[in-house]
Symmetry: C2
Subunit: 227 residues, 2 copies
């Protein structure tokens, strides 16, 4: 049973790596099995189809990175620090992948969402759920910022949506330019959306946490992605 | 010769339609030929490969929509109107496609850029060039706005980049949600990036054009896309 369980894990990891660095349609079950070291017969023991594997892969991937989101967006961290660290973690992760693989791989959720959005409702719905979670983290941080001009729930939601949109677009631009440095634009863009000039950013923020520790989460093997 | 020329055009149109509504990897040469009503032998007379067809398709597509960009971003149009109309045209086009096809197809450039960014440098570079053009239009409009706080070339470029990123991200979100109404968020987000509150937007703008006609461009068959 131990071995069986391990095979499933290896299929998930191989699917994540291959689809992320290539695309869903260009990667076949055979290639995934080969990279995972799993026989094709075993594949269908675990997953009825490549789509089912992809669904399990992205669910598993989200589960693996959620603790990092929880840490970055912890209520113990100052609200603006949460957002800034999220931006920094996104940059750092794309930069690490770029240094390792020589290319900006972009966000696995954006990649598969744009590739399969019109073709597979199950994948599309899962990516939408993951986007909703990112939105939820951002809304919480924006709400806790308590900035003048962003007080109503409508404004908070709209601001978080704009931040999220900006981030997704930057990841697309970074991939197309094959340049992770483009993600450095995220913090100033987000501050602009929050109505904070660069110099005003720290001074303007309500600080409900006072001396709370500011926790940082270095990206691990599965670092924060870009839902 | 007339017939030959027509076959090439039909291949370009079929490739655009099929890749846009599906994806590059999921559409084969045979399927493109079938939709275009062109024999496979003729295909290779025009294009050495599917990638070469895609390059010609996106170049051709850009050429077909550039006049609309030129009209929307005409110096005769007030700067904020240029940006607002660009946002409206993007929404209208995705909405039209959605009403016709039942799905948000997203931006053809984003789709293929995220799908093939790590796999094909020629496609990636072409999409980068098209993104650069969009950036150029936006920079010109932001510069002409002459807003306080966005005066230096660095600020102008950064603001245009943030607007472009926001737009690309919104198109991704609209596709993943399969909801064109998400693109309605673009104008308020852009105004926020410009430091304009909704109510202040009109009053704050320098109006160098005074009584110049404000031209509107209803999206045609090939309406403004989302580079």
């Amino acid at each position: 049973m131990g071995r069986t369980s391990d095979a499933r894990e290896r299929l998930l990891q191989a699917a994540l790596d291959l689809i992320w660095t290539h695309s869903f349609s260009s990667v076949g079950v055979e290639q995934i099995c080969e990279q995972a070291g799993v026989r094709k017969g075993s594949f269908y023991h675990f997953f009825p189809s490549k789509t089912d594997l992809a669904l399990a892969t992205y669910n598993d991937h989200w589960s693996s990175i959620q603790p990092q989101f929880d840490a970055i967006f912890s209520p113990l961290v100052r609200p603006l620090d949460r957002i800034d660290r999220w931006c920094e973690a996104l940059y750092r992760h794309q930069k690490d992948l770029f240094d390792r693989l020589g290319c900006v791989c972009g966000c696995p959720y954006v990649n598969v969402g744009t590739e399969l959005g019109t073709q597979d409702a199950r994948i599309r719905n899962l990516i939408q759920q993951i986007f909703d979670r990112a939105q939820c983290y951002l809304e919480s941080a924006v709400r806790d910022l308590g900035l003048a001009g962003i007080q109503t729930e409508e404004d908070i939601r709209a601001t978080a949506q704009a931040i999220h949109s900006c981030e997704l677009g930057l990841v697309v631009r970074a991939k197309v330019a094959n340049d992770p440095e483009i993600l450095r634009e995220l913090i100033p863009a987000v501050h602009r959306l929050l109505g904070l000039s660069a110099s005003r950013a720290q001074a303007d923020i309500r600080s409900p946490d006072l001396d709370a520790p500011t926790r940082s989460q270095p990206p691990g093997k599965r670092a924060v992605n870009n839902p």
